[in-house]
Structure formats: structure tokens, C-alpha cells
């Protein structure tokens, strides 16, 4: 244990400084809270640095209308959130609410999408989800560089994207400007309730806090059980590659190809159930590349300059968990795999919910982790 590490008075300790933890810390500091963020270092599994940077509404909430409302709320809050963040930090995070597309490379894929939209429309209590079914020519009017294999797709005007590395940097600069105490290389290994609050400890030492918020991504699974929460998350791998920079030619992001504001074209994204493995598989990359080139043949002329694989943080039903511990009321947890899309919802609404001790739960009630608690059979 290191001697003499100084922590100020801590009202709220947030475990995890990825986009979700940083969004919560940013929001709580704006509510006047004294916040400490305990984060891992550069070696952490970091979905915040590996993700595809979409702000995506399309088809969200299938089987869970409240999630559609939550996502739509976040998407609508994004313009103001992006403006506030860039005004505060001077960082342009290149937020674009351009609308986005899911493209189909076969009639079968097209019908699957159409069926999913039909199911979504039939759900009760859904927010309006504007979308348009487009054939090859319709897609071609939006994205002239599609190949002949694109049979059609769906356009949703609420979708968009952002420069996610600069979003991450802006959130952290915002934390520094707001006086949040951020500590990298402070991995939390244990949390012990001590009656009035919590003791958080790791190889770096120990600190006490009145409240604790878990935003530790995949680390939540183990930490949650220490403070009476249920957060059964597992890693789901995904590969992404990025090309050399080129003059802008893709005006809209799609679910698997988007051009960043810097000019590089990102190509994603696979799904692998293979535990905590982040090695890059050439077989997966070539599958992604083949599909991307069928979608936009001119991508075949661009060089890929980097590729990587990262880990999504997935719950059993794929929807977020927001919860307050019944046993230790000062303990909160937040986890999701759409930390970019949901960043404004976390920074504004979830932060308020935590600041107000979860009293104004409302919408958030349905996201509790205990939905996964299954009574043991005798």
C-alpha cells in the first residue's frame, strides 16, 4: 500500500473512467458533487477506445420499449450535450446527426430487417421511430458509391455518429476543469460497506466514500456482488479496422462502414463469444473487408492502416443495468454496451438519479439488475 496518498473529501466514488464512468462523473460534478474517479490504466479492457462511434437509434428497443424511449431521449439530447461539452472544453467532438443506414446485401437480409421493423412498430408504448425502407436506387441517392450487391436498406434520420476518441478526451478534460479527482492506475479490487459508506481499495491503497457508483464495464460483474448488486456482464468481442484517410465520400454512417471526420473509413464489426481475448483474427478481418468491399467497391483501393479487437460489455438480455443496492442504499451500478449513444442520458438523467438517491426512479426502474435474479428451484 502506498503511503500518504491524499484524497479530499469524497461524496461519490465512481469506479471506472471509461465513457460511461466519465459521463456520470461529468454530470455529477455539474450537480455540485465532489466526485472521485478510480480508473484502471492503459492496459484496461477499454470499450471506450475500441468502439465504432455510432449514435444509433435504429431498431433499438426490440422486446424492451423502455429502452427505445431511453435511447431516443439520449439521441435527442445529443446536440445540446455536444455543444455544452465543446463550449466547456474547446474540443470539437465532430457530432453529426446525419441520419444512418443499415444496408442489406441479399433479399433475405432485407426481409429480416423489414420483419424487425414490423415487430418494433407493433410493440405497445413505443416512441415514434421514423424510418424509411429504400431500394438499391434509393440507397444510391444517399450513398452513390454502393456496389451492385446492395439490394436496399433502412434509413433512420435520428442516427448519427461522433469522433469517439475526442468525445472521450473532452469528457476527461471536462472532469479536470470541473475539479473532479481522476486517478488512473487505481484499479479497485475490493469494496467493503462500513456502515455509513464504503471503503474502496486496491494495490494503490484505500479510500472512503459516502456513495459508490460502479461503472467498471466488465469489472462490474465481480464488484457488484460486493455491494449487493446483480450485474452479470460478459465480454462479446468485436473487430474493427480503419483505412488511410481519404477525402469525404460517405455522407452517412452505416452499421458496418462509416467515414470519420478525419477521413479514415472504419469497417466493423463482428461479434465473437470468446471470453477476454482481444487478439486480432485475420479470418474475421477478411470477412469484414470482403463485405465492406461488396458494399462499397472503392474501399478495395484503400489501405487498411490499423485493425483491432475490443470487448463489448453485454448483459444477458443485451439491455443496460442501472440499479441501486437494496442492502447498501449508497451503492449504485451502471452498465451498458451503448455508452456513446447513451452518454447524454448518463450525464444528465442517470447522474441526477444517483445524486437524488434514486428517489425519482421512474423510467429507470425497469433497468434494475434484479430482473436477472431467478429464484432457485427446490
Amino acid at each position: 500500500m502506498s503511503e500518504g496518498e491524499k484524497f479530499g473529501e469524497v461524496e461519490i466514488a465512481i469506479v471506472g473512467g471509461g465513457i460511461t464512468g466519465a459521463s456520470l462523473a461529468w454530470g455529477l460534478s455539474r450537480l455540485g458533487k465532489k466526485v472521485l474517479v478510480l480508473d484502471e490504466g492503459d492496459v484496461a479492457f477499454r470499450a471506450s477506445r475500441g468502439n465504432f462511434a455510432l449514435i444509433w437509434v435504429q431498431l433499438k428497443g426490440l422486446g424492451f420499449p423502455a429502452y427505445a424511449h431511453w435511447t431516443n431521449w439520449a439521441a435527442d439530447a445529443w446536440p445540446g450535450f455536444a455543444q455544452t461539452l465543446s463550449d466547456q472544453t474547446g474540443i470539437d467532438i465532430a457530432f453529426r446527426r446525419s441520419g444512418g443506414l443499415t444496408l442489406a446485401l441479399s433479399d433475405d437480409e432485407m426481409e429480416k430487417q423489414a420483419k424487425a421493423w414490423a415487430r418494433l412498430r407493433e410493440q405497445p408504448d413505443m416512441p415514434a421511430c421514423p424510418h424509411e425502407r429504400l431500394d438499391h436506387d434509393g440507397i444510391g441517392r444517399l450513398l452513390p458509391d454502393i456496389g451492385p450487391d446492395v439490394v436496399g436498406g433502412f434509413y433512420c434520420p435520428r442516427d448519427g455518429h461522433v469522433n469517439v476518441l475526442r468525445l472521450f478526451a473532452a469528457l476527461h478534460r471536462g472532469l479536470a476543469l470541473s475539479g473532479v479527482d481522476y486517478r488512473a492506475d487505481h484499479r479497485v479490487d475490493a469494496i467493503v460497506p462500513d456502515g455509513t459508506g464504503f471503503r474502496l481499495s486496491g494495490a494503490w491503497g484505500e479510500v472512503g466514500s459516502a456513495k459508490v457508483v460502479l461503472a467498471a464495464g466488465l469489472g462490474n460483474a465481480v464488484l457488484a456482488s460486493m455491494i449487493g448488486l446483480t450485474m452479470p456482464v460478459r465480454p462479446v468481442g468485436g473487430h474493427v479496422m480503419v483505412t488511410e484517410k481519404a477525402r469525404p465520400f460517405l455522407r452517412y454512417p452505416t452499421t458496418s462502414v462509416r467515414q470519420t471526420d478525419d477521413g479514415g473509413v472504419m469497417i466493423g464489426t463482428s461479434q465473437e463469444e470468446r471470453g477476454f481475448d482481444t487478439s486480432v483474427s485475420p479470418a474475421v478481418l477478411s470477412t469484414l473487408a470482403e463485405r465492406a468491399i461488396r458494399t462499397f467497391p472503392l474501399l478495395g483501393r484503400l489501405n487498411v492502416v490499423r485493425s483491432w479487437s475490443a470487448l463489448r460489455i453485454m448483459t444477458p438480455d443485451g439491455f443496460p443495468i442501472y440499479d441501486r443496492s437494496l442492502r447498501y442504499p449508497g451503492a449504485f451500478g451502471a452498465t451498458c454496451h451503448s455508452g456513446v449513444t447513451l452518454a447524454p442520458a448518463h450525464a444528465l438523467r442517470l447522474a441526477s438519479w444517483i445524486a437524488e438517491d434514486g428517489s425519482s426512479s421512474g423510467l429507470l426502474d425497469v433497468f434494475r439488475g434484479r430482473r436477472f435474479d431467478v429464484p432457485a428451484l427446490a
Binding site: K245, A246, R247, F249, R301, L302, N303, V305
Partner: protein
């Protein structure tokens, strides 16, 4: 600025053009080496700042030496071997992949 070291073996001359000017390199040269040997001090201007840029790392990691080769933009001059009759142009602005003639 740069002078060639004495060759250990005789290497054939290779003709190419850079921004329309006829130049000569030697067989086995990278494009970057041939341009530097011809006294070229910058091969592109930065697409954002407009600053002149020249080959820097010479080993494929810095992407400073981008040129257009036979109509294809963003080629790394240090990683591309010089060939006879190559048409090399300085990279002006970001590569416009849609405008290039299909290979």
C-alpha cells in the same frame, strides 16, 4: 542535399516523372529515395495546414511521404519501389478515391 553513396553493384537507371518533370533514379530505389536524390525537398502539402511535408521515417510508419503514383493517391513513397516510366505526383489535399480511375 542528399548524395548517393557509391553503388556496390551497377544498377540500371530508371526514368520517371515527378509533377511532370523528367527524373532518373536507379533500379531498387524506393520512390522516396529517388525523389530525395533528385533534390526534391517536399512531396506533398498537408491537407489541413497546407504545410510542406517530406519523407521522414523512411520505414513506413509516419505517412509523411504520401504521393500519387500512376493516378493512385496516398502511396507511401518510402514503401513503394520505383519502376520505369512511373508517373508520380505530389499529394495535393486528401486522396479523393471516388475520382480516381479504376485500376
Amino acid at each position: 542535399m542528399f548524395r548517393r553513396l557509391p553503388d556496390l553493384a551497377v544498377r540500371k537507371a530508371v526514368s520517371f516523372t515527378f509533377d511532370g518533370r523528367s527524373m532518373q533514379g536507379r533500379e531498387g530505389d524506393s520512390i522516396a529515395a529517388a525523389l530525395l536524390a533528385n533534390g526534391i525537398d517536399h512531396v506533398r502539402v498537408h491537407p489541413v495546414s497546407g504545410a510542406p511535408r517530406s519523407p521522414y521515417c523512411l520505414m513506413g510508419v509516419c505517412f509523411e511521404c504520401l504521393v500519387t503514383v500512376n493516378g493512385v493517391g496516398n502511396r507511401q513513397a518510402c514503401q513503394t519501389e520505383l519502376r520505369d516510366a512511373m508517373v508520380i505526383e505530389s499529394q495535393r489535399g486528401a486522396r479523393a478515391v471516388s475520382d480516381e480511375i479504376s485500376q
